[in-house]
């Protein structure tokens, strides 16, 4: 985990440890390793939006044509309902750019961590 965290910190201009705190805002609906009201976040970077098998996405998300990268996540998380109109993620978003960078750094690091490796 420590190595992955350091790696991600080097790759992104975000602090994954601060990002973990910010991720608390997502925990009503998401978990890293399993689907809840929202889909799991393990494996997020590089995957097509709306593609976790068995998760009931909105058609808006499935048809969005987005592939999740740092850039597309930054756009979506800034304003989910305007970036993907009709999305079921009815959440105003994370307005602060640094907070988004931290959050994305956390998501990238988590993907490399044992929280995710156990299940995918």
């Amino acid at each position: 985990m420590i190595e992955a965290v350091a790696l991600a910190a080097a790759l992104a201009a975000g602090d994954p440890l601060r990002g973990k705190e910010i991720y608390a805002r997502c925990l009503a609906c998401h978990a890293l390793a399993y689907d809840r009201v929202g889909p799991r976040h393990c494996g997020l970077l590089g995957r097509r939006a709306g593609s976790v098998p068995g998760f009931a996405y909105s058609s808006a998300m499935k048809k969005s044509g987005i592939v999740w990268s740092k850039k597309t996540l930054d756009r979506f998380l800034a304003d989910p309902t305007h970036t993907v109109p009709g999305t079921a993620m009815t959440y105003a978003g994370v307005a602060d750019a640094q907070e988004r960078a931290d959050l994305i750094a956390f998501l990238a690091a988590a993907d490399q961590s044992k929280d995710c490796s156990a299940r995918h």
Binding site: A24, R25, C26, L27, A28, C29, A31, Y34, D35, R36, V37, T81, G86, A88, M89, T90, Y91, A92, G93
Partner: protein, 189 residues
């Protein structure tokens, strides 16, 4: 857990049962007041508002299930158990209200899933369960905060804020019970 000794669990429960009607009708009044406003809105904004409420409903139903898992785990002792059941009751009341409102908007309310995933393997004692519950309540506060500015109908923002306040109280009480600063900041985010 000294604050829990302020009243006996039975007294707390009685209090809750007496008060919960008042709490629900408070939020219901906010929605009732918005009835004309609801009727006046366009189909698009009604569908949008119903979608927001449906995501909230799905989260509330999961919270009800999570507290059920906690209550049945045999890891919670009184008075924490009573507290969990009381909070579960609030989440049920939120879910009921959301469901009715979604119907009023012409939407189809989400129903509870047959099966939920919870990290049960990490819940080994009372503290683990209460910490898990605190995390869910914190998330719920953020989720409602993120919904408040999205509604086309302001009365629905008011109703969401009313629920947000309740979840914030749950979060604070749970933090107190697990020995953390119950109100760690001047703002929630």
């Amino acid at each position: 857990m000294s604050f829990l000794k302020i009243s006996s669990p039975a007294a707390a429960r009685r209090l809750f049962l007496e008060r919960s009607g008042a709490v629900l009708s408070g939020a219901a009044v906010a929605l009732l007041a918005g009835r004309e406003a609801l009727a006046a809105k366009s189909g698009d904004s009604k569908a949008g508002d119903a979608r927001i409420l449906n995501t909230a409903l799905a989260a509330e139903l999961e919270a009800v299930a999570a507290y059920q898992v906690g209550a049945e785990s045999n890891l919670l002792q009184k008075p924490a158990l009573d507290l969990a059941l009381q909070f579960q009751g609030h989440h049920k009341a939120h879910a009921d209200l959301l469901e009715k409102t979604i119907r009023k908007l012409g939407g189809k309310p989400a129903s509870a899933k047959a099966k939920y995933s919870f990290p049960v393997e990490t819940l080994k004692n009372q503290l683990d369960v209460l910490r898990f519950a605190a995390g869910l309540e914190q998330g719920a506060v953020s989720a409602y905060l993120g919904a408040v500015p999205l509604f086309a109908t302001r009365d629905l923002s008011k109703a969401a804020a009313s629920i947000l306040g309740d979840e914030a109280m749950h979060w604070a009480v749970l933090r107190q019970v697990i020995g953390e600063n119950p109100v760690p900041a001047a703002f929630v985010s």
